[in-house]
């Protein structure tokens, strides 16, 4: 049993190394073959993996405030993903240092010809963009350091230390929400700098939470900790994780549809362009797959109590949700690009996602404390609401 799991861990490491080598090679070829798209593919890959770490941070802060067996079960995994935030800050450098390769507002000659961009220049300019990125990562690294500190010195419930962690989590989750909202505007929404949507940041925020939870469920179900969790809390821990996944999926669909619905209803030229690009030219299939495979199918499957309580059946659903978040990021970023004659090269996005993902995965395994795991307290309070 143990050897099978060690075998699984070795295989995961091998796959990660293969992903780095093959993804890196394909990315290098893409650099030569499809240069104009390279930075956008890099942006996609970086945003996807950064989102997993940021979503994990949201969940840890949230769990500090709410408590519950679900969080105790996945907490070490979430902390591992949170500790990768500084690494994602390093991966941010190609984007933050070269905004003119991605964003038309960073091109002075373009801004000269565009009255709207001249008007938006006090916010959308290179220096302020870089300063803001530094502020976001500064905040996230501070919160990540606090989360790591909490991991090193676990506090018993309702101790002064526990209350202190809860206080910083309450303030932290608010600041974190603001940072994610502004970051979504800077890094994604400003790809089409004329367009704006108030709920855009919430859609990304919700997507991050779904994705971080989905990955934690997959890793937990495949790790030796699964049996520990089942022994301490029974199937309830997975039941709760499944219920949360269902709730987050519904929240994501709710806000994503709200944005579409309001823009569709208003039918204003400056607003509908965003959806015209994303619901035409082949991208409608990506949108349809998001509605079907990121919402409808997982939603129907997760209605089943038996499925949620069985890690072996819950994990594949979570994996589907995780992969579909990547499709969402591609669908958010790539249609924004003015390609002229050039065509979208899907494999370049996949190659860079695999290359960065392989590195992310190896460090995640390294940073995730494997033993000793935090004990699971499943008292009557934990059992009563289920």
């Amino acid at each position: 049993m143990t050897s099978a799991k060690q075998h699984g861990a070795v295989m995961a490491t091998t796959i990660a190394l293969a992903a780095i080598v093959l993804g890196g090679a394909a990315a290098a070829y893409g650099w030569a073959y499809a240069r104009p798209q390279f930075m956008y593919s890099y942006l996609t890959a970086w945003l996807f993996w950064t989102g997993v770490s940021l979503g994990s941070l949201s969940l840890v802060l949230l769990h500090n405030l709410t408590g519950g067996v679900w969080g105790q079960a996945v907490r070490p995994l979430l902390r591992g993903a949170v500790s990768l935030i500084p690494v994602m800050g390093v991966f941010a450098l190609p984007v933050v240092l070269n905004p003119q390769m991605l964003y038309e507002w960073a091109d002075p000659s373009h801004v000269q010809r565009d009255a709207v961009l001249r008007y938006k220049q006090p916010y959308l300019n290179v220096e302020f963009f870089q300063l803001r990125a530094a502020l976001y990562f500064g905040l996230w690294m501070l919160l990540a350091a606090l989360v790591a500190w909490q991991g090193r010195s676990p506090a018993p419930p309702d101790s002064p230390a526990d209350r202190r962690f809860r206080r910083f989590s309450g303030q932290g989750v608010g600041l974190h929400g603001l940072a994610v909202t502004f970051a979504s505007v800077d890094w994604m929404m400003s790809l089409e700098p004329h367009w704006f949507s108030m709920i855009y940041g919430v859609v990304w925020f919700a997507g991050q939470g779904v994705t971080a939870l989905a990955l934690s469920i997959v890793v937990l179900a495949a790790s030796e900790r699964r049996d520990e969790v089942l022994a301490a809390a029974g199937p309830k821990a997975f039941h709760d994780l499944g219920k949360l996944l269902l709730g987050f999926i519904m929240f994501w669909m709710y806000v994503a549809f709200s944005q579409f619905f309001i823009i569709w209803h208003g039918n204003l030229p400056e607003e509908v362009v965003w959806y015209n690009r994303r619901l035409g030219g082949g991208w409608q299939w990506a949108a349809l797959s998001l509605a079907a495979l990121r919402f409808a199918l997982p939603f129907l499957l997760l209605l089943s109590r038996d499925l949620k309580r069985d890690p072996r059946r819950l994990a594949p659903v979570a994996l589907l949700v995780f992969v579909m978040h990547w499709v969402e990021i591609v669908w958010l970023v790539e249609p924004a690009v003015e390609r002229g004659e050039a065509r979208f090269v899907p494999w370049l996005d996949a190659a860079l996602t695999l290359a960065i993902g392989g590195i992310w995965w190896l460090l995640y395994r390294l940073f995730t404390p494997r033993t000793p795991m935090e004990p699971i307290h499943a008292g009557p309070a934990g059992a009563s609401h289920g």
Partner: protein, 190 residues
């Protein structure tokens, strides 16, 4: 829903009709232990009463699934499908109107109402289905005839084997409850 009240009149009218036998226990551990034994003895129409929630009690007694989730699912599906086609029929068939130049069958504008009616259908099905399955509201229950049953909300634990059980035989059931450690056994009458 099974009517647990005795049929009025009839041949057995002069005999006291028995609802079941009630065994009293002094601790949660004893109750769980007894619940296991009751289940192992093959009784299926049973219930347990305790002043506090006890983990694993329902499983020990062999608590079976209800059909409520299926009822809720059907209620939600009915609400959603019905809500969508109600709008479709009104907006595209019965009384089409030009709203902002949109097609009569504009599905995005039907989604919010469809969503709400799905929730409404599921919620109503949950409440009404729950009431239909458990027989509430119910102002009186035969168990209240057992004098010490009120202690179930204080410091005593009870198991009831109902007369509706296929294996129920009054004296055997009483003896059985005593043999598994009940401090008192009461025959509950209607």
């Amino acid at each position: 829903m099974i009517d647990q009240h005795a049929p009025p009149g009839g041949a057995a009218a002069d005999l006291p009709e028995v609802y079941g036998v009630l065994g009293e226990f002094t601790s949660a551990e004893e109750l769980i232990d007894a619940a296991h034994k009751v289940r192992e003895a093959g009784y299926t129409r049973t219930d347990a009463f305790a002043p506090l929630p006890i983990r694993g009690l329902a499983e020990a007694l062999g608590f079976h699934r209800t059909r409520l989730p299926l009822i809720v699912l059907l209620g939600g599906a009915l609400g959603g499908v019905g809500g969508y086609f109600m709008q479709y029929w009104m907006m595209a068939v019965d009384y089409p109107m030009n709203i902002g130049g949109r097609p009569a069958h504009s599905w995005p504008s039907f989604i919010p109402v469809t969503f709400e009616l799905t929730v409404l259908g599921a919620a109503l099905a949950a409440v009404l289905g729950m009431l239909a399955l458990n027989g509430l509201p119910r102002p009186h229950h035969p168990l209240f005839n057992a004098p010490r049953f009120s202690l179930a909300s204080q410091h005593r634990f009870f198991i009831c084997i109902e007369a509706a059980d296929a294996r129920f035989e009054l004296e055997n059931a009483r003896e059985f409850l005593k043999s598994i450690g009940a401090t008192q056994v009461t025959t509950v009458e209607y």
